[in-house]
Amino acid sequence: MIELSRNVTFGQYINNGSAITSMDPRVKIASAILLITLVSFIGSFAAFALCLLFCINLQWASHISVPYVLRSFKPIMIFLIIIYVIEVLFYYSPTQHTTLIWQWGIFAVSWEGIIRSAATIVRVLFLYYFASMLMFTTSLVDLTDGSEALFSPLQRIGVPVNALVMVLVIAFKFVPILVAEVERLMKAQAARGVRFDKGNIFRRSIKFASLLVPLFLSGFRRAEMLSMAMEARCYGSHRGWRRSKRRELRLKRYDVLALSLVIVFCIVTVVVNFVAPF
């Protein structure tokens, strides 16, 4: 059955009133950046275990259903598995990988390869989790205001932060719209006899490719309409133009506490990463 929007969860904001949704967006974005840097840096499984513990707490605090979050991993899993297999097979250097399990021509499976590649995959999973948790718990406006405030120092060296953030926001706004559009096109084609669930992967990709042209056409049309509507509402960059904000971001004690907690967690994990035997 044709139900695309059910499976594409990226970029959705779930307003469930949890403590995390009401946090200051600057703190949330800063924390997400810290945590993503942390998982890219660490390599020991003991440190990963700590991260997992942190994620379980985060998940609990967010009140978001676990199966829903897990489902958002589904689309990237297949890529990760393929990458894992390739990495294990090809990633081999005789000096580093001593415990060879199997070798055939250029293919080699070593114990170190398996472990190192596993660490990479775990890293990507954590990264994806933190990024999607930021999306799940932060509204678009919060994301805009937060990142504009956080990156405003860059404005001084000539980076057009406001414009870049607006591009980002609209891109996110378009994700669900495009998904709905694909669903609509698929339904229209299915009603005229196209079967998206039949045939081998090659045939299926051809069927999906046929959706691209109408999709881009309607995407461009929408983008044009939106930019026109925004300009009509006086959005645009001319000399001396500056937007103001209705909302004021104020750090609460709770936000300071949360940020300190994240920083402490990062330090502890880095220490564990160095001292842990595995």
């Binding site: 044709i2 406006v141 229209a188 299915a190 005229r192 300009e231 009509a232 006086c234 904000k245 209705r246």
Partner: protein, 612 residues
Amino acid sequence: MLEIQDVTFSYGTSEEPPAPPAVRDVNLGIDSGETIAIIGQNGSGKSTLVKLLAAILKPTHGTILVDDLRTDAGGEALWTIRQHVGIVFQNPDDQLVANTVIDDIAFGPENLGLPRFEIEERVQEAMSLLDLESYAQMAISELSVGQKQRVAVAGILAMRPRYLLLDEPTTMISGHTAKQLLDTVRRLASERDITVIHITHFMHEVSAFKRVIVMDEGRILMDGTPADVFARADELRSVGLDVPMVTRLGQRLRVQGWAELPQVVLSIEELKEAEPHHPLDSVWQGLEAGRPQGSSLHLENKSTPTRDVETTLVAGSLEDSFARSLFELRDVHYTHLRGTPFAIEALHGLSLSIPEGQTVALVGPTKSGKSTLVDLLAGLIKPASGTLLFEGADVSTTAFAIERIRTTVGVVFQSPESQIFEDTVGKDVSFGPRYKKVPLAESRRLVQESLEAVGLPYEDFRTRYTYALSGGQKRRVAIAGVLALQPKAIIFDEPTAGLDPRGRRELLELIEKLKERNNLSIVYTSSSLADVIGLADLIYVLDQGRMVFGGTPREILAHVSELAALDIALPEPAQIALALHEIMPTIRTDVLSLEELESEIEKAKTKATKPA
């Protein structure tokens, strides 16, 4: 003051041959505080004209002055103009930027760089003007189209414009909601001295404006009061427009000797006001007093003997056909986005039956479950629970191949653009037959037959590019594409949305013609009764995923108060009859057409004359 001086505008010049200008040689002056309606068929240049006024487009020739500022001057002037001229578009989804109501309304004032307290003040004011306070923190995606359109208007008002341009804002909303929005806008216009320019296809919306401008082929054809414009009914019809039904009725009644009526009747109120001067008024009042009090309209209608006979006849014939129903739904449930935090129950124990060979209309407000039901009937989704029988076979059993539905039932979706995949008309119509691997000669014959059935000559249209077709032609191509699949049933999902009066009339005539085909079942969804009242054999009214009531068109019209509660507007003849009921108690309110209404009024008059 807005001044348009000798303005001509053409879109792009790359096309061969160059397209005619969208707006040509227009001269127009608009004073502050005026309320103006612009009417014209699709492609007459009215949208282009308001975009020119809002300085979104710049004239190819001529000048436009907004409070003495040229729209093509650029720089500071451009921003002053955009600040003073607010524009609301047809589809609110295209213009709402933020994701909550309050943030979207604040978008404009924020762009003006106003201090925080002033933004707050303007946003609160705009929300209270449009009754949006209780929605402030809601996500835009959770709102109905009508609510979204109110947010769009509030977002513009928060910028405190002097001119408010509305580009077909009521196309996607219906009945009472649309009327309410326009009433609010006009009230604001007089309270705050805002000039309002409203573009529309709906003639009944025009009467309340002070000035009406009629456009055709980029030129201004008429410019005057509604009474002036509607007096030229034949000219209006020749450019694809019409006069409101009440005006037509007024003309006919005048011909029959109602001399008290004004030359051009603009509203039901005027029709009623003409009545008290009637010498027989006292007689009617006497009759009214003699009637039993508190009897509902429904009961009064029942007492009309002719109607009873008719009802039983129709009901009888329906009963027979239930034996061969195409679809049978029993307690069907369906949830969108099942298993996510956004799950919405679209169908909530829906039971109904769609008989073979009949025309069935599904009418309901937004979010009533119509679109989900269309997907279900087209075999695109399966019910989550409950039973869906197709030609007597249970769809949920593993033995049932969903292909059976898809090959038997064709769908014409809401926006025809989404249904046209190929670049030329011939290729697009043959899409279905090619997919079914129909032999070439056979496929060619099907394409020819289908195109001709929708009134597009095969040789002329076969090689035309689909993107260059007009809205009405695209809809026809989409229908031809469905006919080429040789379906036993066709579903039309709000097919007249966005069409001008002529386009709508022609499409309804086409569907009427398809009805005559042997054994073709037609399902027609709509948010208003106007399209379906003369077309359908059977109407189901849906709300919140349930069937509220169903029956023949006449039976449906008896549910006046329920329909009003669901914001489903009555068709114009029934509206007029209902309003006249106060002064003509014997009039039947379940009239299906203008002709029926007219003869009812005549009957009511003679009945009133006799006792005198």
